[in-house]
């Protein structure tokens, strides 16, 4: 196991958002994290990605403790994430955002900003276009400001940013929410391809069960801040407790 | 495209700045708007005197004078800009400039450009005929004004002196000179405190309580009318009498008794020019001019300007006469001739506004007297004293 999270607990005032949450992911594995609204999925992702600092618990990645590190340090260590809601960023083009994602990569870290001034980034541009924007069907809008794009495409841009970092651990928060089912399936396909190519570990929070079922190798179900079930996609669908809590059956 | 628009704007704006040519051009910049606007009468005085020559004598030596009055707003960059315009575009043969800062910043360039310049700031540093052969000053410096007040106190047997000044060059500079010169002790007086305050302070109650605790026999104000108003108002609150206070030349303004009434009574100030309305020959000219055009400021500073106008016109006239009644074709020559004529004036009569002027040392005259607010009016209370 390369990602091992244990006993992760975080409270907001009186609300216990995540309580003694445990999760493990191996490289090359896509784990689906599902659960009803307010279950604490986003909060858990925020803890792993350095946005929140949990009160207790450990999150180890290849043996190193991640808790307490800032998002920028984590990104440099290969932990990238996407957001449930995408921000609209004025004046930045799709390619700009992808480049920002790529800026965390080791091979882009030498020399500092002053060298950037004189360094051409056309090679990077080509690479991003071919490897990331093309598969996400963003190549044709690469030079458009992102606020001119549809919601679905903006979500794709957010994914492109995370992928451009060539992450080893990829955290996806509802990547296909708000997308048409065609768009969603395409996006899921890209995630699988990236996993195949980079061999990265993926945690995918998602409500759309068809996407979850067809993409994930394993599924973890959260409710009220804790893990209530873990298993293969088929097992999850069969479990009566999950059906009751999450799928709303009696 | 954008570039073209930007260029068009630039070009249009600068196009308005094409040089205007006049045979004799005098450029005056003052503070028409800005912190010193209450005491800007001299800027109008110079212009009006030159205008009156245009009206009564057809100008100077038969040449119409273009007297251009500009607003420096007491802002350094604005004043530096105006200076360029005066030298370069207006071809001014004489310039009257305002703030201490601008005169200092320009002092080298004035020499380089060789343009006669009369400063409305009384900073002693620029009064140096060797270093700054083109800079002239009308009357006593701030230091000399202060010495007149100190001598008066010594003569009356007082002892304890407090100096109040603003926190800018105008306030600090002369006070430092006086402090370092040791003149206070030489006169047998004691400087018990110096109080600095913000130039734009609106409340000086705390400072006035401090002044009161020093039990002064005299408080000298090195600041201008707006500050003097705040000082006297808060002095009254602290129970300090107006007669304890004496201010420099720039605290003679009808505004002070008008705004303060009783609190201004007894307040004294240094007077170096006859008041507006005094029965002197110059006043007749002013009244004659005033009959045809409105006079912007009817105060002592206007008289100062009128006097400066007389000196400028006399020097220009001398230069034209020397050139056989024609304006020298080369502005450089013209300016140099005017400078020499200015220096050559040793007994210039300005119609009684001041004693006869002598610009051989670049300072027209060095005497002043003390005036006191009495019944809402400034009334002279002493003889003219030479401040050298």
């Amino acid at each position: 196991m390369s990602l091992v999270a244990r006993e992760v607990t975080i409270r907001f005032g009186g609300v216990i958002a995540v309580e003694r949450m445990a999760l493990e992911v191996s490289p090359g594995e896509i784990v689906g994290l599902i659960g009803p609204n307010g279950a604490g999925k986003t909060t858990f992702i925020n803890c792993v990605s350095g946005t929140y600092r949990p009160h207790t618990g450990t999150v180890r990645w290849l043996g190193d403790e991640l808790l307490g590190l800032s998002p920028s340090t984590l990104l440099r260590k290969g932990v990238a994430r996407t957001f449930q809601n995408v921000a609209s960023l004025h004046d930045l083009t799709v390619l700009d955002i992808a480049k920002l994602g790529a800026s965390a990569r080791k091979d882009r870290q030498s020399g500092g900003h002053l060298l950037d001034f004189f360094r051409s980034d056309s090679a990077l541009e080509r690479e991003l276009l071919e490897q990331i924007l093309e598969p996400l069907e963003l190549a044709d809008v690469a030079h458009k400001p992102i606020q001119t794009l549809s919601y679905g495409r903006r979500k794709a841009v957010d994914l492109a940013r995370a992928l451009a970092a060539y992450p080893q651990l990829l955290l996806l928060d509802e990547p296909v929410a708000g997308l048409t089912s065609h768009e969603g399936m395409a996006m899921a396909g890209v995630v699988r391809n990236v996993r195949d190519r980079l061999g990265c570990a993926v945690i995918m929070v998602e409500h759309k069960m068809d996407v979850v079922m067809s993409t994930c190798d394993r599924i973890v179900v959260m409710a009220a801040g804790s893990k209530i079930f873990e298993g293969l996609p088929a097992e999850v669908q069969a479990d009566p407790e999950v059906r009751r809590v999450y799928l709303g059956e009696p | 495209m954008r570039l073209r628009h930007a260029a068009a704007i630039l070009a249009l704006t600068l196009a308005g700045a094409l040089p205007a040519r006049a045979q004799v051009s005098v450029c005056i910049w003052g503070t028409i708007t800005g912190p010193d606007a209450l005491v800007n009468g001299m800027s109008y005085g110079i212009r009006d005197y030159l205008e009156s020559l245009n009206q009564t004598k057809g100008g100077i030596a038969g040449q119409k004078v273009n007297a251009l009055l500009l607003d420096g707003r007491y802002k350094l960059d604005e004043e530096l800009k105006i200076y360029r315009r005066c030298v370069d575009q207006e071809n001014a043969v004489f310039i009257s400039g305002w703030s201490t800062g601008s005169v200092k910043a320009l002092s080298d360039q004035i020499t380089q450009d060789g343009v006669p310049f009369i400063t409305q700031s009384y900073a002693s540093e620029v009064l140096d005929p060797k270093k700054f052969p083109y800079i002239f000053m009308a009357g006593p410096t701030y230091e000399q004004q202060m010495i007149i007040a100190l001598r008066d106190l010594a003569a009356k047997g007082g002892k304890r002196v407090v100096i109040m000044h603003a926190d800018n060059e105008y306030g600090r500079g002369p006070v430092n000179v006086i402090r370092q010169s040791g003149v206070v002790n030489q006169l047998g007086l004691q400087l018990v405190d110096t109080v600095e305050f913000r130039y734009d302070a609106q409340d000086l109650t705390a400072q006035m309580l401090r002044v009161k605790s020093r039990k002064p026999d005299m408080v000298y104000i090195q600041a201008s009318t707006p500050q003097a108003i705040v000082i006297l108002r808060d002095a009254a609150k602290a129970g300090l009498a107006g007669k304890l206070f004496i201010g420099n030349l720039y605290t003679i303004s009808p505004t002070i008794p008008e705004q303060l009434g009783e609190a201004a009574e007894g307040f004294r100030a240094i007077q170096a020019y006859q008041f507006y309305g005094t029965d002197i020959p110059a006043m007749k000219q002013i009244e004659a001019f005033g009959a045809k055009a409105p006079i912007e400021k009817k105060d002592m500073y206007y008289m100062k300007g009128w006097m400066e106008g007389i000196a400028i016109a006399a020097a220009v006239e001398g230069a034209i006469k020397q050139n056989g009644g024609k304006v020298p074709a080369d502005i450089k020559q013209f300016r140099e001739a005017v400078r020499q004529q200015m220096e050559a004036q040793t007994k210039l009569d300005d119609g009684g506004i001041t004693p006869p002027l002598d610009f051989s040392n670049h300072q027209g005259f060095v005497q002043a007297r003390i005036a006191e607010v009495n019944g809402g009016k400034y009334v002279p209370v002493g003889d003219w004293i030479d401040a050298r």
Partner: protein, 335 residues
Amino acid sequence: MNTRHLVIAVAVALLMGALSLAFGRFGAYMVNAVAIAGIGALSLNLLIGYGGQISFAQGALLGVGAYTAGNISNAGGDGLLAILGAGVMGAIISALIGIPALRLRGLYFAIATLAAQAILEYLFKILDPITNGVSGLVIRPTTILGIPMTSDRSLVVPSLVILVIVWVAVSRLMRIDLGRSFLVLRESEIVAKGMGIDVAHAKILAFFASGFIAGLAGALAGFANRLASPEAFTLDLSADYIAMIIIGGLGTWTGPLIGAAFVVLLPEAIQRVGEAAGLSDILSPLRELAFGLLIILFLIFEPRGLTALLSRLKPRSLAVPAPGAVPATGESLPP
């Protein structure tokens, strides 16, 4: 893209150079003033327009540059060294001013910069050995690379060269990772942080870069004015610079220069029009009013400034589709 900016910058500088020759010494002084204001506005636009950090300390920062350059030059250092020294000093002081920005945001930080402006103004007045107190530091004419800078015309050259370099450098900066992270920072610090941008690092660098450029502008202003005095670098000057970047268009590439030209030339234009119409006595006080009014009007009607106004004049811009997200389709659970 970059070469286009380079071409535009060089063309504008050449045009300004030509104007300075065509309108004599006064023209040279005005062109120099516009160039210096342009550099200062580029600096502030980098900080506010691109980095989203509101600062009212720009006037004082220019002062830091002027005093630094004045001292180096008066001590016999070459003008170029003085200008670069002013840049470094501006950068350092600006980074110090930026430290509270690591904790404070928006208006709260803006208040902190007001304090910084006041502190620096105070220091200008009391640090006598460096600043010569309230008298101001008289700056003797400098020499740049051995060439004496005695006339207004000679000063135009370094100002325009620096303007071009800074203008192009800002354009380039916005095309590297650092500049892009400024833009994200401006939109939202939380988003920036989430995207893995080192917010503190980016902020301090924004102040550093902006301060460096402000220092250059201050040095050039010092050489042009030949005096660095506390009264020249007050909050009024900061306000002028904020006016420039708002009127020109916040966060645009051409805006700072257009705004600078506008703010520097408008008073003169009003003055000359007033003189021509015989109304200068009335129009003179109006100049101050005009600025306030213009800023309010721009904020209400054209927040993106003159740049946007000018680009709307060209028919080409009609073809650009209005920005706005297409509504999302497809079923999904509410977030």
